[in-house]
């Protein structure tokens, strides 16, 4: 499926995330709750605005989505049920689906492996970093 314009990508994000960015009232509780805040170039509360504005290119360039720990604190606390984590994850998926997942290359893996590394870590990381 080819993406031709911004609009269809915005729609895709809304569809994948199943959440409505227009419900966001910019209270920032997600950003206040996020453990990865300092790592993110686009902050959790900004995802809604990026999607509403259609700044897809910037979203696709951003590494913020890969910094999300999937800890669901923002989803738990969002007073507007925007579920920012879902928007973040949708942006991540859009990147991976378009680029085939280049955040972590297979060749990186062996050197990252440690003796005591649990399988859970590997599968989780693969799920998040690769398509």
């Amino acid at each position: 499926m080819g993406f031709t314009n911004v609009e269809s990508q915005v729609e895709l994000i809304k569809e994948i995330s199943g959440s409505d960015p227009y419900k966001c009232m910019k209270c920032g509780k997600c950003t206040a709750s996020c453990p990865s805040y300092d790592e993110m170039d686009i902050k959790p509360h900004q995802f809604a605005s990026y999607i509403i504005r259609g700044d897809i290119d910037e979203l696709l360039e951003s590494k913020a989505a890969f910094k999300c720990l999937a800890c669901f604190a923002c989803i738990e606390r969002c007073p507007r049920d925007v579920q920012p984590g879902r928007l973040v994850d949708a942006a991540r998926q859009l990147q991976e689906r378009q680029r085939g997942g280049d955040y972590m290359q297979p060749e990186e893996v062996p050197e990252l492996l440690a003796e005591d590394l649990p399988q859970q870590l590997l599968v989780s990381a693969f799920r998040r970093y690769r398509r």
Binding site: F72, M104, P118, L121, S124, A125, R127
Partner: protein
């Protein structure tokens, strides 16, 4: 009492302690964890995308198997617990996912979220009862001040997992009390340890785990317990863990029940 049991990848491997102490304790408490045959990995993280079906199928199969056995499905690992409960919720409440997943799986009778998924701790709390558990303790862990580390995957989103109050949980504290020890309540107990990010950015995880240790020891904890192999890994990477050991909750349970050696 028999439960279908979904161990998950890590418990067969790096987190065997979590598994074997649980089985031994279960036997001591009079129930049995029957491992379901040919289970497949849950994937570790729940696929949030509304259009992701394939990644949920392994969970659906496990859930359906338990349904066919007419048993509740018990897990120990936080991640498996999280994924199974959420996929189960999808199968119950999200028509699109239910239809498509059933189309893939082709069960005799469509699976509609009938299975009850329980974390091992929920079995202790709701089926055995912590009061009853306390009566079965033979080696009370007296004098120990234990910090429960919940992490994120057991608790959130509270509405779907329905495990405990996601902001102020107390099930592990009650568990600790039942074992005869003193629980230490601290704010960081439901804050993320850094999760899978430790693969690419171990330094980041270390700052997270330091905060967790600082907070829990600040309140007097002399050790921590967890239900999650990934949390265990990340916490153990912290220097603080040399002074404040981290245990799987099942290990302390087995110890208190006096079955640690047999396990």
């Amino acid at each position: 009492m028999k439960y279908s049991y979904y161990p998950g990848c890590t418990l067969k491997n790096k987190a065997q302690d979590l598994d074997r102490f649980a089985r031994a304790s279960a036997a001591a408490l009079g129930f049995e964890l029957v491992e379901i045959p040919e289970w497949q990995c849950c994937g570790g993280v729940y696929p949030l995308g509304t259009d992701e079906i394939a990644t949920k199928l392994s969970s659906v199969r496990a859930l359906n198997y338990a349904k066919e056995q007419q048993q509740d499905l018990v897990t120990l690992c936080s991640a498996c617990h999280h994924v199974l409960k959420r996929v189960n919720d999808d199968m119950k409440n999200v028509g699109d996912i239910r239809t498509r997943a059933n189309n893939y799986c082709g069960f005799e009778e469509p699976y509609q979220g009938e299975t009850r998924v329980l974390h091992f701790l929920e079995v202790l709390k709701d089926v055995i009862g912590f009061d009853e558990l306390a009566k079965k303790v033979v080696n009370p862990l007296e004098g120990r001040k234990i910090g429960a580390y919940y992490g994120c995957l057991t608790l959130r989103p509270g509405k779907i997992l329905d495990f405990d109050d996601p902001e102020n949980p107390k099930i592990m504290e009650d568990f600790i009390r039942a074992l005869g020890a003193e629980p230490v309540i601290y704010s960081m107990r439901n804050e993320c340890c850094g999760g899978y990010v430790s693969l690419k950015d171990p330094e980041f995880t270390k700052t997270r785990t330091k905060m967790i240790f600082d907070d829990s020891t600040g309140f007097g904890a002399d050790c921590l317990i967890t239900a999650c192999p990934l949390c265990m890994y990340n916490l153990n990477k912290s220097e603080a863990s040399s002074k404040v050991p981290v245990y799987y909750f099942t290990e302390l349970l087995a110890e208190a029940l006096g079955v640690k050696e047999e396990a």
